[in-house]
Amino acid sequence: MNPLQKLFPNIDDWGEIGRACIDTLLMLGGSLALTVLLGLPLGVLLYLTGKGQLRPMPKLYAITSLLVNILRSVPFIILMIVLMPLTYALVGTKLGIRGAIPPLVIGAAPFFARLVETALREVQQGVIEASQAMGASLWQIVRHVLLPEARGGLFAGVTVTAIALVGYTAMGGAIGSGGLGDLAYRYGYLSYKSDYMLVTVLLLVVLVQLLQMWGDRIVARYKRY
């Protein structure tokens, strides 16, 4: 009997845990990429249309802001169930990695958009004024001033969002999206195999730690100036 078996007597298929890990990473990677792709423009829109900003549009801001708040206030597990028809329409299934990604993105993008808005607000007003004085267009200001100047805050936002998404993917496991959360739920909760629960929790802790360290490193690099 090897020591691993002694420690976790119920786990007979470590390969399954490995596959679940990969599933979680795939869900995380896919949904994070799409979340950034969707949340970044949404955050820029929130920033630009806000009061006293470059293109104040109170009505558009109020509507976008309300939408973002609504999506953020629905608990993810409920959002996932509510979105099932949309998920099916988008990717042709409600299950597995593909079925998990639409609700993950719709749940996380508004959250990330708020972080983007906050990060952009940290950019000094004077720098924006200086680029206006140099004849920069709105697009040039966004592309060459706001995003580069805020990149420390933006990467911190990506990190926080990635960690939130790890939590979301685990919840997704409960309704059939696979991954570590699914494992923990089926074996650890429904079958009382607590060693499964322990291993998945440990793996999730390690994943979150790695994400935070990776994020902090990038943020620190951009803080050097």
């Binding site: 000094q124 004077g126 720098v127 004024e129 680029s131």
Partner: protein, 336 residues
């Protein structure tokens, strides 16, 4: 030429119009250094931002050269802004970019794609402001004076005809202020650039400006050549600014001399008058006696000037004063 024609500006706050600048007209000539001095809240930041329309006037028209700035659409305004450099009190450099990239920024904004041309221009500009050795540094690694030099290099990148200075030396120590002002004066001389600067320090005006306007509570209360305004301030606000620059001019500074007999006079010498020994000659000829109470010799930009406060007595004081005036010396009789 920069021309304000019946321009005024007010801000709407809680449904009410708060005037920031009362209606005024002002011409700034090509190639001059024009100072606008005022306390904070007097409206000088608003005034300077009207030139490149970072602030839109509530009424009136603003011309830069032959272009009516107030009539331009967005793209045309952006093109005009590239012809007007601007530097700021807090420098407003891009913290995420190196010194070289900060200076290259306006070139890239203007659509320059030739990296070799950009590098050559950046090198030339950094050499002009004395920062060639710092091209690869980030703004946070520079001192305040160095940051402002980067700001100046950046402002000059697109070869503007006008440079706007928004309190450009207010965040700097006196020595650094002097070197930045010297740099600005040199740029004005060599590039024939029109400079408009706003400040709350009369000393900045005295060192580099040709003409000055004094702004008080949104109104231009006094304007003229710096020598005229500096040597003979009229408005109370102007007097206060001059007194700050010359503490010995302050009201009450002469109180200790109250017992000294004679008429209290302030003599101003400018240019050639500073080099001729008129006072001694005329005193000898008229037999008046004088007692020097305060004095200074300095420069207003490139013009040497002197100012003496003295008590004069004798039979022929009036004749002496006439002779002094004929010698080109300006005389003010002070109350005692």
């Amino acid at each position: 030429m920069i021309r304000f024609a019946d321009v005024h500006k007010s801000y709407r706050v809680d449904g009410r119009d708060i005037p920031a600048l009362l209606p005024f007209s002002l011409d700034i000539a090509d190639g001059e250094v024009f100072g606008i001095i005022g306390l904070s809240g007097a409206g000088k930041s608003t005034l300077i931002r009207l030139i490149n329309l970072l602030e839109r006037p509530s009424g009136g028209r603003i011309f830069v050269g032959d272009t009516e700035m107030t009539a331009l659409d967005e793209p045309a305004l952006r093109a005009q802004r590239r012809r007007i450099g601007m530097i700021f009190q807090h420098f407003n450099l891009l913290a995420s970019q190196t010194v070289a990239d900060n200076v290259a920024f306006p070139l890239r904004l203007a659509g320059e794609r030739d990296e070799a041309a950009i590098r050559a221009r950046v090198d030339e500009l950094l050499a002009r402001v004395g920062l060639s050795a710092h091209a690869g540094k980030y703004p946070s690694q520079l001192s305040g004076g160095q940051k402002q030099r980067v700001g100046i290099a950046r402002a000059l990148a697109n070869r503007p005809s006008i440079l706007l200075c928004d309190e450009a030396t207010s965040a700097l120590d006196p020595q650094t202020t002097a070197s930045v002002l010297e740099l600005l004066a040199g740029i004005n001389r060599e590039l024939k650039l029109t400079i408009v600067l706003i400040t709350h320090e009369m000393d900045v005006v005295r060192r580099v400006c040709d003409r000055v306007a004094v702004l008080d509570a949104g109104a231009i209360v006094e304007r003229g050549t710096v020598a005229d305004v500096f040597l003979h301030p009229q408005h109370p606000t102007t007097k206060r600014f001059v007194e700050e620059a010359l503490p010995e001019e302050a009201a009450g500074a002469l109180a200790p001399f109250a017992r000294i007999p004679g008429r209290l006079l302030r003599l101003s010498f400018r240019g050639d008058a500073t080099t001729s020994p008129a006072l001694a000659r005329i005193a000898r000829e008229t037999g008046v006696e004088f007692n020097i109470l305060a004095g200074r010799i300095d420069r207003i930009k490139d013009l040497p000037y002197g100012q003496l406060t003295l008590a004069m007595q004798g039979e022929r004081v009036d004749a002496a004063l006439t002779a002094l005036r004929e010698a080109g010396i300006e005389i003010e009789e002070l109350p005692r």
